[in-house]
Symmetry: C4
Subunit: 385 residues, 4 copies
Amino acid sequence: MSLSLGYPATSDDYRTLARARLPRFLFDFLDGGATDEQTMAVNVADWGRVRLRQRVLVNVDNIDTGTVLAGQSCRMPVVLAPVGLAGMMARRGEVQAVRAANGAGVPFVLSTVGICPLQEVQAAASEPFWFQLYMIRDRALIQSLLAEAWAAGCRTLVFTVDLPLPGMRHRDTRNGLSSGGLRSAALKASQLLARPGWVWDVALRGTPLTFGNLSEAVPGARNPDAFKAWVESQFDPTVTWADIEWLRSQWPGRLMLKGILDVEDARAAVQVGAEGIVVSNHGGRQLDGVASTASRLPAIAAAVGAQTTVLVDGGIRSGVDVFRALALGAQGVMIGRPWAWALAGAGQQGVSHMLAGWQQELRLAMTLTGVTRIADIGIAQLDSL
Amino acid sequence: MSLSLGYPATSDDYRTLARARLPRFLFDFLDGGATDEQTMAVNVADWGRVRLRQRVLVNVDNIDTGTVLAGQSCRMPVVLAPVGLAGMMARRGEVQAVRAANGAGVPFVLSTVGICPLQEVQAAASEPFWFQLYMIRDRALIQSLLAEAWAAGCRTLVFTVDLPLPGMRHRDTRNGLSSGGLRSAALKASQLLARPGWVWDVALRGTPLTFGNLSEAVPGARNPDAFKAWVESQFDPTVTWADIEWLRSQWPGRLMLKGILDVEDARAAVQVGAEGIVVSNHGGRQLDGVASTASRLPAIAAAVGAQTTVLVDGGIRSGVDVFRALALGAQGVMIGRPWAWALAGAGQQGVSHMLAGWQQELRLAMTLTGVTRIADIGIAQLDSL
Amino acid sequence: MSLSLGYPATSDDYRTLARARLPRFLFDFLDGGATDEQTMAVNVADWGRVRLRQRVLVNVDNIDTGTVLAGQSCRMPVVLAPVGLAGMMARRGEVQAVRAANGAGVPFVLSTVGICPLQEVQAAASEPFWFQLYMIRDRALIQSLLAEAWAAGCRTLVFTVDLPLPGMRHRDTRNGLSSGGLRSAALKASQLLARPGWVWDVALRGTPLTFGNLSEAVPGARNPDAFKAWVESQFDPTVTWADIEWLRSQWPGRLMLKGILDVEDARAAVQVGAEGIVVSNHGGRQLDGVASTASRLPAIAAAVGAQTTVLVDGGIRSGVDVFRALALGAQGVMIGRPWAWALAGAGQQGVSHMLAGWQQELRLAMTLTGVTRIADIGIAQLDSL
Amino acid sequence: MSLSLGYPATSDDYRTLARARLPRFLFDFLDGGATDEQTMAVNVADWGRVRLRQRVLVNVDNIDTGTVLAGQSCRMPVVLAPVGLAGMMARRGEVQAVRAANGAGVPFVLSTVGICPLQEVQAAASEPFWFQLYMIRDRALIQSLLAEAWAAGCRTLVFTVDLPLPGMRHRDTRNGLSSGGLRSAALKASQLLARPGWVWDVALRGTPLTFGNLSEAVPGARNPDAFKAWVESQFDPTVTWADIEWLRSQWPGRLMLKGILDVEDARAAVQVGAEGIVVSNHGGRQLDGVASTASRLPAIAAAVGAQTTVLVDGGIRSGVDVFRALALGAQGVMIGRPWAWALAGAGQQGVSHMLAGWQQELRLAMTLTGVTRIADIGIAQLDSL
Ligand SMILES: Cc1cc2nc3c(=O)[nH]c(=O)nc-3n(C[C@H](O)[C@H](O)[C@H](O)COP(=O)(O)O)c2cc1C
Ligand SMILES: Cc1cc2nc3c(=O)[nH]c(=O)nc-3n(C[C@H](O)[C@H](O)[C@H](O)COP(=O)(O)O)c2cc1C
Ligand SMILES: Cc1cc2nc3c(=O)[nH]c(=O)nc-3n(C[C@H](O)[C@H](O)[C@H](O)COP(=O)(O)O)c2cc1C
Ligand SMILES: Cc1cc2nc3c(=O)[nH]c(=O)nc-3n(C[C@H](O)[C@H](O)[C@H](O)COP(=O)(O)O)c2cc1C
């Protein structure tokens, strides 16, 4: 599809726009997954298998897509997932995104490795946003980041547990992201030359392109590569549930554990006192070959849904998919690539437009399944296959 | 396939012709479905899973494809479904279509939002046709439309219940149908310029291109867009079974409820006194993600087939598919896009030719499964998978 | 794949060659199936689902692919199926084919509507061949054809029962085969002009291109179209098992009923005294939507395999597929398109080469499943899925 | 994907490079499989169906991918499978490969029909390598080969049992490998001319391109074709388990039987005293239509895994696939095409780089399933589907 004159309608249309605007290595970083991208693909496909149950002649005049997530009112049960380097997708990307999120009435999560620092996002935001953290080796740094987040008004901490090591993302390797030397530089340069608009708009006018929240921790770093090197040195595979207990004691706000894909781990999360979990495989970017989140959600929701908030992410691409996730037991969803594609393709306005479309689609799904409240969506709104 | 010199044989061939003749936005409006078009796709695919049971050496000399639908004799159990804006697919499209339907001995259903008004269709028709209605907010208008339809000789009312809100058809968004402004106008103009034949034949010589049945109700409207806006303002999501009871009392003829996809709703339709139902998901144009009609038909036919007429539509693309629907319990089928493609591609003659082919295909299916009467077609003519 | 310099290896390679040599309408006639070609496709695909069971370290030194079919010794259990108009695929096509069959030690079946008459084939053949007949209205003609076949040395009659009416082959319609007039003639001429080699070799030097066995019965006919018209007028949908009894009494040789796809019909065939059946759906050319022969074979073989010879055809494309059919209960297979593609693509030599390859492939399959005799192939040589 | 400037990341990327460097007939020989390549395809696809079970917050700091295979310490449970003619993929290919294997700490298996002789490989290797043998008619030659292998330091013999006859590899036929004459020579020449780099690097500077281990046995042979002819004359379909007993008595080292796909044959292998088996269908190059190795592995491992070493090969394409094989019961895997593609595409360095990537991927899989030792990987690390 050429969108030259036409209008983007779906997250996939924004993906097409993003591909046209971003330098190849950046698009691939955003778009790709681990190994053979099998999990990334089933993440999307498995939502498509969930069949909605059409009902007619139910009075559906006062449909309300609003809900409460982590104690926060939302106009729909969608959260913008933490996306590292989002600030490279568009000029000061996290600022544009948080504004779109606020406009749509949905929470925004700032990544540890976002470009814009907590304070910059806070200044732009009209609502409290959430902060995401990885376990890193330097525990003092964790404590200071938690303090900064709290000071920036964050009350919900999304703690990501599925990244003890970085995933094998072969597209990045192909683009030379992990190689040095002349050839790699030439490759990168050729990709940048092919996208002068991005270079002008983001690389030149969107500086600094550093990891905003870590710039003090990594004083010498001048570019994302240097930060990435530092971050990778900080991955901590020794983390266990005991460390979560410690974290729990450090953070006065709400704690959500992101990256749970197993019933036993979900139970442990409840045990340790997490207010919520995000059923996630990191969008298929970590261990390829694991199950789709759609296939794991029902069992996890059945096991812990009564005790904790269950969100889910991975492969959700429309308002219909949001409905499917709710029907399978989630209280809300996170979306990663969709908002980043929209941001890269059309900035804040793109994100706003996409979210408005999804809300309308969710409303339509409620209308034609005959429910008027988010809380009423459940397995009864699905057809068996 | 290029059909430049060749002959169209299937509804898909007519689709190819239609794509070549219609401006893009019109073809997409006709061809597309909601959201990711998953339901539209399974509608077609699921008929393909139904396996016919070949029998040989049965005397099949006097095969009769004729039947009675809604009290009307038909030469085959096929009905031309209501298709809004059909009059834009070819010059005075509904007139051409009703003539083809009459020639083939099958019922034609005029859409509320057809281009040709009831009187124009009546003048062209040699047989009574059916009228389709949506529930609209202005109940007085409903009453006057019912009166007009009755006056035009319609004795069967097809009341569509799966459109409390318009579906999310992303192709229309991409073509700017819901956007205003210069860019949208430029896009539309460029698509029109690419199809001068259509502009000359339909846009210039086929006027007025207004919603014929609504022109009195929407006096100021000069073009389809204005009508569409009015129609959308009239969608009524408060309708319930109680309104159907009211409708039932207003209409002296036969009432069929179109858009039933659930056994419980089918039972309610019988309860409320409907003479028939159309198992339908609106050709996948309303809520994407709902089941195919082929997959839902057997249970619904088992539940209410003895008490009411059960028709089905969605994805039926050949005489073999017609046979499959009958074998799964329907008494007849409606077809939407196929006749509109044939109309757009080759006018009245196209529709006639396509219907003749389907009848021959149905006859062949009866021949090779060893049945001679429509009423004898059932589950015994299918092979288990 | 361009085969310009390369060598054909599979029946699909010969198909590629045939497409390059035949005028489009002839290739499509040979290659196509009924309606949406679903049955044609599953015919091929379902053999691919049958998993062979590899065994090792069995002494497989004296493998013998030979068998006896209908009382005739064959070097492998493969029969060239009746293919109408085969004589248009290559110059005097049936003559070339019967020679290839004799060379490979497999039976050849001459179609009622072959180009070369019985006598011409007899003159070329070094072994008795089989004759195929349709039930036609003119029973006296049947009797005289039976007499001629007997006189030409045929001792096995293949009587085709799945053609009470011709199938809906849309490719033929697209090519104008059933249309008259200037446009159809222009289309045909353009296709002929694109294949001057075929025109010179077959159309000019391969005359007469009439239905050899019917030329006396249809005296005025000058071209295949005229014959086709006559044949279609002769289709007889009133035929029942009683007619088969009559036929049985008329034919002193072996009788095989071709076109059985149902267990009950197979039982009736035994009842009526047929020495064999061919499990067949006419290569998916008759009623689209019926099951693949691979899926129906096991039940039919279980029901009547002990009392009658069970052959199968449809979608068999390699020596491995031959093995699969035997393992599922057939005593032998017929192949249609494969030999006609090879004939069209490379003449007698093409058919010979293809058959030699299949025999080697069958031998290899026996080797690696550890059986040395055709009669030993059975379900034990398959892996459950 | 054009890799002109980019970096290869996966075995498939190396395949792309190999295709660009090798003459067509050689690439096809390496890349292809038997008949319709169905088994080759399911070999790959079926690993993709195995779902890993993601676990989080397990201490996975001291992950060790090392293991012991056939008494030899390996840094990961991967073996380079015997690949005939590997020395034609790159200059003195087996020498480059064994060096890469040693560098990665994994065993290398030299094929009977390798280009480099045992002594040349031994001279290059820093670790003992394994030797692979086919049963050939000339038993005295077997004895002398065993003696030479022992002298070259080989202590593990991989005896291949699934090659009583060569498979039907149609790509080779298409490239004229089994045809003689001018046309075949022209085809080969045209393919060589298209790859001057290979001709210079391998054909001219990599001589002699003979079967190194057989040059004394086939004294007159001057080129691979002549050797191939000799080898084919030596295939011995009379071999049975009794011959394996004889072999067992001749070979003082470890014996692994390669080409077992059936539980009964696996039991017989244990019976005859083999120290290990390789569950294999020869990469889909022998009998097409047999099951994937992934689908057969669990039953075989359950039957004999406690008594013998079970390796598996076929379709393994990443470190994730290695993990899957271990989880289904194998103690290690062999890989064939992947290392040969890497060798053809980028020589020794390519093989080293690919192996390093796989080890990292295996480590990541262990990390995110929460196991730290190879021996701990089992069915508990999989999600049911
Ligand atoms: C480019 C990119 C960067 C991401 N960065 C982070 C991150 O910094 N922290 C995190 O917890 N998850 C991160 N994720 C994962 C997302 O939060 C989310 O789990 C995932 O994108 C959901 O799948 P989806 O993209 O299919 O919606 C990232 C995902 C992408 C695509
Ligand atoms: C372009 C178009 C316009 C339609 N307009 C109407 C309509 O005005 N009223 C209605 O009840 N259904 C309408 N439908 C739905 C059809 O009546 C029918 O349910 C559907 O097309 C059946 O699916 P099929 O197109 O796959 O045959 C429309 C369908 C199409 C494709
Ligand atoms: C071009 C063509 C002509 C055929 N003509 C006849 C025929 O005259 N009589 C008959 O019994 N079957 C006829 N058949 C059917 C074949 O005998 C056979 O059943 C079928 O081709 C088997 O399927 P296959 O082509 O996939 O091998 C014909 C098939 C083809 C493709
Ligand atoms: C080009 C090629 C040559 C091979 N030669 C031999 C051989 O000489 N001996 C042997 O036992 N297996 C041979 N094999 C089979 C491999 O050892 C191994 O079983 C197979 O390649 C595994 O499948 P994969 O290629 O999908 O990894 C060969 C495979 C290929 C692709």
